[in-house]
């Protein structure tokens, strides 16, 4: 690993990226990757869960197949489309929402923005291109994936147990809460982590939306962030040999992280009761 020899262990903590000064590190992009993925999961997880529950338990049987193929269609939409959608359509609204969050919840450290919230004309440029905006687009991409996993596990719930709950006088929600969700817990966790693995590696939607910045920044609403994959996509072209090696190392680190997340997800899905028949 020539990268580590050249830049030392501070490669993982150094946030600045000054090729002229030969200072290089992935601290900032690691934080950025995690914060974008975290925003994406906060948005995608409840929506995926609700959609999966709706499709498997609440939707009329006639339109269920249509809904399933619609979710598949969502998964097939190219990420660049979600990037454009996020950039042109969602970002203005997201910026307005960010302003509202700052005015009302600005005391939370990760909602803080270095701009005056009560300015007569608010400074839009401080609110766009943030990890929050990128997270919305990434959420759209991971949502169908985790939704598909969850729905598949929910649909394997033994009908006998569901009918037993209903026969005992349970309401539909009572049945879902006591039978479907406990049965599908492994699928819920596994699907979420699979989505997380994809969110970490997402490139082009993030690259379109963010304004690149190389500061360790936990304030997700403020302009400027970067992720490992966006860094690679944006910088590989003009990289010198040492920088290319550094980018490869960054990519390898990303690979290891997603590998761990996906392996954990696979283990959880396999170990849970989900999918196994119940003869009790």
């Amino acid at each position: 690993m020539p990268t580590l020899e050249r830049y030392g262990w501070s490669f993982f903590t150094e946030s600045a990226r000054q090729p002229e000064a030969d200072v290089l590190g992935i601290g900032a992009v690691l934080v950025g990757t995690v914060s974008v993925a975290a925003v994406a999961m906060v948005i995608a997880f409840p929506l995926a869960l609700l959609t999966a529950l709706f499709i498997s338990e609440y939707a009329p049987a006639g339109i269920r197949a249509t809904l399933i193929s619609l979710v598949d269609l969502m998964a097939a939409v190219p990420s660049i489309i979600y990037g454009m959608w996020g950039y042109f359509l969602v970002m203005p609204h997201a910026a307005a929402f960010a302003l509202w969050l700052q005015q009302n919840f600005g005391w939370l450290p990760f909602f803080r923005i270095d701009a005056d919230p009560d300015a007569a004309v608010w400074d839009v440029s401080r609110y766009v291109g943030s990890a929050f905006c990128a997270g919305i687009a990434v959420a759209m991409m991971v949502l169908p994936m985790s939704c598909a996993v969850m729905r598949q596990v929910f649909s394997q719930t033994p009908p006998g147990e569901k009918e037993a709950a209903l026969a005992l006088g349970s309401t539909r929600w009572g049945m879902v809460r006591t039978v479907v969700i406990p049965f599908g817990r492994g699928g819920i966790i596994g699907g979420t982590m699979l989505g997380l693995g994809r969110a970490l590696g997402e490139t082009i939607a993030v690259l379109l939306i963010i304004s690149p910045d190389f500061v360790i920044k936990p304030r997700i609403l403020e302009v400027g962030t970067n992720t490992v994959s966006a860094l690679i996509a944006g910088r590989f072209g003009d990289a010198s040999a040492a920088q290319l090696s550094a980018l490869l190392t960054a990519g390898f680190v990303l690979f290891v992280i997603t590998l761990i997340v996906n392996t954990l997800a696979a283990v959880i899905v396999n170990r849970s009761r989900s999918g196994a028949g119940t003869d009790a």
């Binding site: 499709i55 609440y58 969502m74 660049i80 609204h93 009572g174 690679i232 997603t258």
Partner: protein, 265 residues
């Protein structure tokens, strides 16, 4: 009045507050007639349904937005038949097109499929039919490779093929990046399909005196044929949309039918 209740102006927030008030209304009316369980049931139903509606609305707005912003060039046939050579940024829609990009995508995808399909199905056959200790190792590696972020695959090919070997940035290199991405997906999907081939069929063939190769070729693969088709097509659709291989192929504005020359996609 509504605008005062809302955190922000605009129709989006009108819908949000309409939803919150609707739930409140449901709670009040259900409390009058039913018990707590009924209230919880109704609210949960409303929340789940509206969650699905939000997702549906997002999907519709995505597709609608793309169509709305991009319908104009679609009316001109040359958009599909022409390329961008000699077309300036200020030209009207009746000049130029994306033929070069379509051709580029098709070439890259064709090469990638031609490379990965035999390899992927071969890997799956190895995992299910040959078996043994090594097959377990291969399966673990394949599982791990599906986690490979596509950007890393692109960067890998860029470093190995283009920087180290000195290959030109071309559709072929891009296809190799796609192949790296697609191979584990195809292998895993084919593995899943091959595993459900009935064991009885599999044992009947050697029992009649067929060799292992003839068993695989004449019994296992034909039985599984309806299965493997969706996996290649789905991984292909994932590969087409993957833009990371742009790291390998520079954008050209003329159609180039040769896969070793610069292409667009």
């Amino acid at each position: 009045m509504t605008q005062r209740l809302l955190p922000l102006g605009g129709w989006a927030w009108l819908i949000v507050s309409r939803f919150a008030l609707g739930i409140l209304f449901t709670i009040v009316t259900t409390t009058m007639t039913g018990r707590r369980v009924d209230v919880v049931d109704r609210v949960a139903g409303a929340v789940i349904t509206s969650g699905a509606l939000v997702v549906g609305a997002a999907l519709v707005s995505t597709i609608g937005f793309v169509v709305f912003r991009g319908w104009e060039p679609l009316l001109h046939l040359n958009f599909f038949l022409d390329d961008m050579s000699g077309v300036g940024p200020r030209d009207e829609f009746d000049r130029g097109g994306i033929a070069h990009a379509i051709v580029g995508s098709a070439i890259e995808l064709g090469i990638a499929i031609a490379v990965t399909l035999p390899l992927g199905i071969g890997t799956a056959v190895f995992m299910t039919e040959v078996g043994g200790k090594f097959a377990g190792v291969v399966r673990t590696i394949v599982e791990a490779m599906t986690a490979l972020p596509s950007i890393v695959a692109g960067l890998f090919v860029y470093t190995v093929l283009i920087v180290a070997v000195g290959f030109p940035r071309s559709g072929f290199a891009a296809a190799m990046a796609l192949a790296v991405m697609m191979l584990p997906i195809i292998a895993r999907a084919a593995d899943v399909v091959l595993r459900v081939v009935p064991g009885g069929l599999r044992e009947a063939s050697p029992a009649l005196g067929a060799s292992r190769w003839r068993t695989v070729w004449h019994v296992v693969l034909p039985t599984a044929r309806p299965g493997p088709r969706p996996p290649p097509s789905s991984s292909a659709s994932r590969a087409v949309s993957a833009r990371r291989h742009r790291s390998c192929s520079p954008a050209a504005s003329r159609p180039s039918w040769s896969p070793t020359r610069p292409t667009a996609s």
